[in-house]
């Protein structure tokens, strides 16, 4: 071994198993593209519908309740859900496009920008997603507690707040710790590739 031509000959002669026919590949590609678009559309619709249901349900509860603090709590939850729908529609789907036909450096930079956008969105989850609804629920819990008059609270009084606090904490952890951590790792690998390219280019 071997001249460059020998290497090329060897490389191009490798047997390719399971080569998909172009027509079959086209069907696969179209299916994959459509299913991705459909998945995004379904996810957006589900999020908006769930938000809409929360708005309707807590709005209805607030409208029916006479007690001021309880009513405030319900309306805060309903307003929080409406705000989440707005935020998702306004910012959740804004994607920085990454055109793969540009140079490797430009493409990876566009991908890094996309990672940054997703990380920003996930890191803000506690403010735009969790805090409004959590505040509303806390107000309703306080209102419920006051309804029973001033007394030493029993453990049962804390069951519901503990349950939704645990749920919100889990959502926070999944978004801000797990997902952000995963995206940061991918972003770091991309950045190291850009650095790799820059270093080798400047060295020549």
């Amino acid at each position: 071994m071997n001249s460059g031509d020998e290497l090329r000959e060897l490389w191009c002669a490798q047997p390719l198993r399971e080569q998909t026919k172009a027509e079959d590949l086209l069907v696969l590609v179209q299916r994959r593209t459509h299913s991705f678009d459909r998945m995004i559309a379904v996810r957006n619709l589900a999020e908006c519908l769930a938000g809409g249901l929360v708005v309707l349900f807590f709005g209805w509860l607030g409208w029916r309740t006479q007690e001021t603090l309880m009513r405030t709590g319900y309306f805060v939850v309903a307003a929080g859900a409406a705000w989440i729908i707005y935020y998702l529609v306004r910012y959740g789907n804004a994607r920085v496009s990454a055109d793969p036909s540009q140079s490797l450096t430009d493409y990876t930079r566009a991908l890094v920008e996309r990672y940054d956008h997703q990380i920003r969105l996930l890191k803000m989850v506690k403010y735009w997603y969790l805090l409004p609804i959590y505040t509303g629920l806390l107000i309703t819990s306080v209102a419920l507690f006051l309804e029973h008059g001033w007394r030493i609270p029993a453990w049962r009084d804390f069951a519901m707040p503990a349950l939704y606090t645990a749920f919100f904490a889990a959502v926070w952890w999944l978004n801000e710790v797990y997902s952000v951590g995963r995206l940061r790792k991918q972003r770091a690998r991309l950045l190291s590739m850009i650095e790799d390219c820059k270093l080798t280019r400047s060295g020549e």
């Binding site: 080569q19 690998r189 790799d196």
Partner: protein, 188 residues
């Protein structure tokens, strides 16, 4: 109004048909090269096949945007390499595990000399492994070279100057030669 709508629909149909036609032609022409490229980034199936499909999806989406500012071949390879690199970042852990795994190649049954054929298969495995162990910019350059792109075309895809490409290819080829030769000698 009806005429306008019909024209719009017809235009869309023509656009869809030409996108389809261009895609089929590109895959027919470059399919084997793209499969080899996917193998140089993803190693074994099913990751290899998955990457190949990911590249095909990117090509399908990019076809309507192709303006002919660069040659079709360099445009296609640029898309393929970029998609492969971004995919590498996503599946880094799996990829690292795979890099340590020896790749299997099917032996061609028509070979008359079994020993020669076994040697060829072993060389191919070593070459493939060695390419996968190269850093991304080196991998891009050697793959384009092995696929028969000229220095000018490699320059268009990678952004490196032609003199830098020549120097780098000499270095990479030497490295591959040492790896393949060294492992072959060690294996005997």
């Amino acid at each position: 109004m009806m005429v306008g709508e019909a024209t719009l629909e017809t235009r869309e149909l023509i656009r869809d048909a030409s996108q389809r036609e261009a895609f089929l032609r590109l895959i027919g022409q470059y399919g084997p090269a793209l499969t080899r490229l996917a193998g140089a980034y993803a190693g074994q199936n099913p990751e290899r096949e998955d990457l190949f499909q990911e590249i095909a999806v990117a090509i399908w989406q990019a076809v309507p945007k192709f303006r002919g500012e660069s040659s079709e071949r360099t445009w296609l390879y640029r898309i393929a390499h970029n998609v492969a690199v971004s995919s590498m970042a996503k599946v880094h852990r799996r990829h690292q595990i795979e890099e340590g795994m020896p790749e299997r190649f099917d032996r061609v049954s028509s070979a008359s000399d079994a020993e020669q054929e076994a040697l060829r298969v072993e060389r191919l495995r070593l070459l493939s492994e060695s390419i996968r162990s190269l850093p991304v910019p080196d991998r891009e350059v050697i793959l384009l070279h092995l696929e028969g792109l000229s220095y000018a075309e490699i320059e268009e895809v990678s952004g490196l100057s032609q003199s830098a490409i020549a120097a780098r290819l000499t270095r990479i080829r030497e490295k591959l030669r040492q790896k393949i030769g060294g492992r072959e000698a060690g294996g005997r």
